[in-house]
Each structure stands twice: as structure tokens, then as C-alpha cells.
């Protein structure tokens, strides 16, 4: 058999990799992990605020991909699907651990820290760095109170009424801030080329 190089797999689209994974292709699985694990791990750590839990959930997220790759519905980007699985797992974990740690003040709006990257190709590092820049620039251009609502909902899993209580703000105001904040974020990301 011809030795398979993972480099070939790195050129495949996410959708192709998922099709191969549904046929239990190990190299395809590894390529997908290498492509998305960094972002998924960042997201998990941001939500659960605990390294060990984030690592466990990272493994569980990709284990679900291995077992249920054929369930990907092809209705959106694979990255979005992966992030949704990870976020749901992390928020379930938060709800399970009832003693949920409050978000540290310096987490709000925290942007880049000194990043350390895995051993993936430099191209991947570049892509992530640019994507992070684009999203953070878009968030920077949203008024702080709207951005806070989006981050509390997305990263902390809070409902509108919980955000209203947490920020001591009327519910109606929170609803307006969230809707307008999301619409602004959408316009800004589209203007910068995301989401594709």
C-alpha cells in the first residue's frame, strides 16, 4: 500500500473530511482535528474557565465527531457545526456544575493574550490569527453594553432575563441591545468577508 501522507488530507475541504470520517478514515479525522481543535479549545476554555474540563470537553466534542460524522446535515459550515457541539457541551457542563464561577472582569472583552500554537502548519496559525482579528475588530466596533450582552449569552449561556438580572438592567433594554448588537455584528463581519 502506498504510504498515505496527511498533507494530502490537509488540502481537503471540511465537508470532504467529514465524509471520509464517516467511513472511519483516521487521517481525515486527524486533519479535521488539527484544523479546528485550537478554536474549539479556546471556546471551551472561555466558557468553562477550567483547563481540565476544557480538555475533557475538547476530547468529547471530537469523539462525537468520530461517532456521528454522518449526522452532519450540510446546512452550514462544518466549523459552525463543531463550535455548536462544543458550546452546547460546555454550557451543559456549566448547568451541571451548579456552582458556576462568575465571569472574571478581565474576561470581558479580553482579546489576544500571548498565544502559543500547536504544531500545525504556519498557514493554520495565520488563518486563525486573521480570523480572530476580524471577529475581535468587529466586536470592538459594537458598543460595549451590546457586546457585553452578546458575550454573556454566547460564552456564559445566560438568557435575556438572566443578563438583565446580572447587569441590573431592564429586560426590554437587554432585548434591544442583544438584537441590535447581533445585527451590527452581522453587518461588520459581512463587511470584512465573514462569515463566508
Amino acid at each position: 500500500m502506498q504510504p498515505s501522507s496527511i498533507d494530502k488530507y490537509r488540502t481537503y475541504s471540511d465537508e470532504t473530511l467529514l465524509q471520509l470520517i464517516s467511513r472511519k478514515d483516521l487521517l481525515a479525522y486527524e486533519a479535521l482535528y488539527d484544523r479546528h481543535a485550537q478554536t474549539v479549545h479556546n471556546l471551551l476554555k472561555r466558557i468553562v474557565h477550567d483547563s481540565a474540563t476544557a480538555e475533557e470537553l475538547l476530547q468529547e466534542t471530537f469523539w462525537q465527531v468520530w461517532q456521528k460524522a454522518e449526522q452532519y446535515a450540510e446546512k452550514g459550515a462544518v466549523a459552525a457545526w463543531l463550535n455548536r457541539i462544543a458550546r452546547n457541551k460546555a454550557l451543559d457542563q456549566l448547568r451541571h456544575d451548579k456552582a458556576r464561577p462568575r465571569m472574571a472582569d478581565d474576561d470581558i472583552g479580553m482579546l489576544e493574550q500571548s498565544p502559543t500554537y500547536s504544531y500545525e502548519g504556519a498557514e493554520k496559525v495565520v488563518e486563525q490569527r486573521l480570523q480572530q482579528q476580524q471577529v475581535n475588530q468587529a466586536l470592538d466596533n459594537i458598543p460595549g453594553e451590546q457586546r457585553l450582552c452578546l458575550e454573556l449569552a454566547y460564552f456564559e449561556g445566560m438568557s435575556q432575563s438572566q443578563i438583565a438580572e446580572y447587569t441590573s438592567t431592564p429586560l426590554g433594554t437587554i432585548k434591544t441591545r442583544m438584537r441590535i448588537g447581533m445585527e451590527k455584528l452581522e453587518r461588520l463581519l459581512r463587511a470584512s468577508g465573514y462569515p463566508e
Binding site: E55, A79, Y117, Y119, V125, R179, I180
Partner: protein
């Protein structure tokens, strides 16, 4: 009900405190307004159910929902970058490989280790010689007794012989069955061994690839980490949305470009160091992926260290000694 376009022109200051769609049937406008919060999962549970139900009956909202979900997914990239622990991947790959190996026997339809032994044929198959019809009484009782004894002896010997033959035939069948089963198992085990050997080769290849990539990445990251200069590149009219950054550290640099369209096979992007005076110096060819991004490690010899500008142009495949095509990025 005819569906309307999304109302993006709402008054930003409108704070409708009484807006509570969960207690009554939702209108199209209600749902469109709730969608941005719905995709964040931040509505109350009854509202989530009501919106979900409404969407399932109004296919026209699916596209809008997908747009907002794509936007929401981008929020994942706002999470601060952190070191990715390598042991998670190691554990995960081990888990996946174990799963793969565990699925092999089922896929190969392996037989049971040994089939149940057949019972040796029992006496029902033994033919019992028919009983001789009663004879008339003989005058010579001695010879009659002798013949009877001889007959019984012969019958017993034949019975034992037949019984032994049946017994041996059963044993032979049993051994043949076991031999066939063992041969089948041997074949299966050889196939499994071959597969494991292949997996092992693949893993060794992956390890080699990773080591090579790690070495290259270390070089790139060192350059990024110790960059003393950061030069921004902007898109020209040939690629107005493109941009890039060139990080310089001592005699090396890393170029990162974004939003450049991939080129046909007969063309390539070529990077140039442009001195204050004189011709641009070729500094490498950069591959742009389908995601319109690319990176390039550049060695900067001493004599090229004092470049005034950098740029990127489209050249024939293999590159050119001097720029010939459109300049797409320039500092």
C-alpha cells in the same frame, strides 16, 4: 401569509417592554425580531419553543436563520487563544484507534473461536441384526447350542465393528470441522495483522510528517515571536480587498496574506523585497489556499536587509526574476 423581508431599519432606541410573544401566537415580524437572540439561545424556554415551532412551519425563515447562525459561530473566534494541549490529541487518537480495531472483527464477520463440538453419533444409528426366526427343535441339541453360540459371537463382533466405525467417522468429521475453523481463524488473524501493520506504517508516517511540520513551525513562530518590524501590505486595484502583514526578525521574515483569490495552475503569487534604489528582488512564491489565505517564510540575506518596500505580484508558474504581472499587494 406573505413573508416580508427582514426589517433592519428598526429604531435602535425602541425598547418595547411589553413585547412578549411567548404568550400569544407569533407574527412573522415577531419571529424575525427574535431570531438574533434565538440563535444565541438566550430566549426564555417557552419563547425558544415558540420560535422553533414557527420556523419549522415557515421555510422562508430558514435562510435568515442560517445567516444568523453563521454569524453566531464566528463568536467562537473571539475567545482568547490558548496553548492547545498535545496530550488531548494523543489520547483521542488512541481512543479512536481502539474503536477502529474493536470494529474490525464485526466488519470481517469473524467466526466464533471454536464451533460447538458435535456429539458422537449415538446408538440409534447402530443397526441391530434381525433376530433369527425360531427354528424347529433339533435332535442334536449339542450342535444346536454350538451354532447358536457361534452365531451370537459373530453378531456381537459385527455389532462392535459397526459401532467402532461409526465412532471413528464421527471423530474424523469433528477433526475436519475444527481444522477448517482453525484455518479460517488463521486467515482472519493474518488479515488483521496486515491491517495493524498498515496502521502502524501510517502512524509512523504521520509522526515523521508532524516532526517535519513542527520544525518548520518552530522556525516561523520564532520569527513571529521575535519580530522587530511589522510591515502592512494593502491591496491594489487588482485585489482591492486583499491585505497582508510581513513580520521581520533579523534575517528572516514571515509573510501572511488574506483575501487573495487562488490562482490557476499556470500562475503563482511572488513576493518581492523592493530596495530604495534598483530592481525588486524575488523573495519567494506563496501558495494561497481556497480560504484565500497564505503564508511564506522568507530568508533575508544581508545585502537585501535594507529594502524600502515589499510587494506581491502575479507571475507565471515557477516565478520570474523580475515582476512581470499585476501587483496585488504593496506596502
Amino acid at each position: 401569509m406573505p413573508e416580508k423581508q427582514t426589517p433592519y431599519d428598526h429604531d435602535p432606541d425602541n425598547q418595547d417592554q411589553n413585547h412578549n410573544p411567548s404568550n400569544h401566537s407569533l407574527s412573522y415580524e415577531d419571529v424575525v425580531e427574535l431570531l438574533p437572540v434565538f440563535v444565541l439561545g438566550a430566549l426564555e424556554p417557552d419563547e425558544m419553543l415558540a420560535v422553533d415551532s414557527y420556523i419549522s412551519q415557515h421555510q422562508g425563515l430558514i435562510e435568515r436563520l442560517a445567516q444568523l447562525e453563521a454569524t453566531t459561530a464566528q463568536l467562537a473566534y473571539a475567545a482568547p487563544p490558548l496553548p492547545l494541549p498535545g496530550h488531548v490529541k494523543t489520547q483521542l487518537m488512541q481512543r479512536v484507534q481502539a474503536d477502529l480495531v474493536a470494529q474490525q472483527p464485526a466488519a470481517l464477520n469473524l467466526p466464533a473461536v471454536f464451533p460447538p463440538r458435535r456429539k458422537i453419533a449415538a446408538s440409534p444409528s447402530v443397526v441391530v441384526p434381525p433376530t433369527a426366526p425360531p427354528r424347529k427343535p433339533q435332535t442334536h441339541w449339542f450342535s444346536t447350542v454350538t451354532r447358536t453360540l457361534i452365531g451370537v459371537g459373530v453378531a456381537a463382533a459385527m455389532f462392535l465393528l459397526v459401532f467402532r466405525m461409526i465412532q471413528l467417522r464421527g471423530l474424523a468429521n469433528q477433526l475436519a470441522t475444527q481444522l477448517a475453523s482453525t484455518q479460517q481463524q488463521l486467515t482472519t488473524l493474518q488479515a488483521q495483522n496486515s491491517q495493524l501493520h498498515t496502521i502502524n506504517q501510517t502512524l509512523e508516517q504521520q509522526l515523521q510528517d508532524q516532526n517535519t511540520q513542527m520544525a518548520a513551525l518552530k522556525t516561523n513562530l520564532n520569527t513571529l515571536a521575535y519580530a522587530s518590524q511589522m510591515i502592512e501590505l494593502k491591496g491594489t486595484d487588482a485585489a482591492p480587498t486583499a491585505n497582508g502583514v510581513f513580520y521581520v526578525a533579523n534575517h528572516a521574515g514571515v509573510l501572511m496574506v488574506h483575501d487573495l483569490p487562488p490562482l490557476p495552475k499556470n500562475q503563482t503569487y511572488q513576493f518581492w523585497l523592493i530596495p530604495a534604489e534598483g530592481a525588486p528582488l524575488p523573495a519567494g512564491l506563496i501558495h494561497v489556499t481556497e480560504s484565500k489565505m497564505g503564508s511564506l517564510m522568507v530568508n533575508i540575506p544581508d545585502q537585501n536587509g535594507n529594502f524600502a518596500k515589499v510587494g506581491l505580484s502575479i507571475e507565471p508558474s515557477g516565478g520570474s526574476p523580475a515582476p512581470t504581472g499585476s501587483i496585488v499587494l504593496i506596502s
